[in-house]
Amino acid sequence: MKDRQPTVFIIDDDDAVRSSLRLLLKSVGIPALAYGSANEFLGTYHPDQPGCIVLDVRMPGMSGLELQDELNLRGAMIPVIFVTGHGDIPMAVEAMQQGAFDFLQKPFRDQDLLDRIQRALTRDRDNRATLHQTDRMRERFATLTPREREVLDLVSRGMANKVMAAELGVSQRTVEIHRSRVMEKMEASSLAQLVRMALELGVTAARP
């Protein structure tokens, strides 16, 4: 996958708002693309594209809240900043409950929006980095043999080698070997780190 540049996606049915926001972002050197409707945006967006969305709540056709719903359904993690001229508390609550990153009422100061956009871009970058780490962890986990997975599970439950040996019907020495292979394959530098990985992967929960 090629490296995609973080981009701000502006979605607003008002031409004037779109062009002024695009200009604002251009002035600070942040790449931006503008769309007049939610559907127009959805037709071109790829979830691997990093950035954030500046989204008008009320638009003809698919509303901003409906677009957020759709993005959630598609598993898109891109942060959404809602902007609205007619916001009220129930609307803000709904947007935040649906996972909006922020909710801003018009009129706002340019700097206020830029600050939020910067925060959203940072969040997106962090989220994607975490996801990447988890993916790599899964790849490493996939290289473990069934027996090694079993050992990982038992280790993460805090079971001592001696007990594990009895449980698995092998010698303590064999357990130690499995254990060190698991550490090596998972690239864990400590037992604590290995246990954390196991928890994150849901290894312990997966066992009957």
């Binding site: 916001g87 009220d88 508390i89 129930p90 803000a92 609550v93 935040m96 409950q97 922020d102 909710f103 009422q105």
Partner: protein, 126 residues
């Protein structure tokens, strides 16, 4: 499991008078109420007793509801929190939701909307 319908729900109200009184009147039918007039007192109460729901005013004498929510998160308190705010404070609403509030209700009026929302958080019929 404590799923019995007849178990009295315990609700912690964090608010100053006279708002505390208004909130109490509204949600009184839902369960047993404990009122704390500051965030500090509420945190003490939470350390000593179990609650099913917290209803807090946005502005408290010693801190903002958002700070109280952050403190609850720090202490791993998972009791659902409903925040009551005046109708103009959208930025506060956004920060409270981000800090972990389950819902923000505008008030006054301290009426059925507040009660229904609290009932839902308690898993009672709205």
């Amino acid at each position: 499991m404590t799923g019995q319908i007849n178990d009295a729900r315990r609700i912690l109200i964090v608010s100053e008078r006279p708002t505390a009184h208004e909130i109490s009147c509204s949600i009184q039918p839902l369960g047993e109420l404990v009122v704390c007039e500051s965030a500090r007192r509420a945190l003490e109460a939470l350390g000593e007793q179990a609650f099913d729901c917290i209803v807090s005013s946005m502005a408290l004498p010693d801190m903002h509801a958002t700070e109280l929510l952050a403190e609850l998160q720090r202490r791993a308190v998972t009791v659902p929190v409903l925040v009551v705010t005046d109708p103009s404070s959208i930025p506060d609403t956004v920060s409270a939701m981000r800090a972990g509030a389950r819902h923000v209700v505008e008030a006054p009026p301290y009426g059925s909307a507040l009660r229904e929302r609290a009932a839902r958080l308690l898993g009672l019929k709205g």
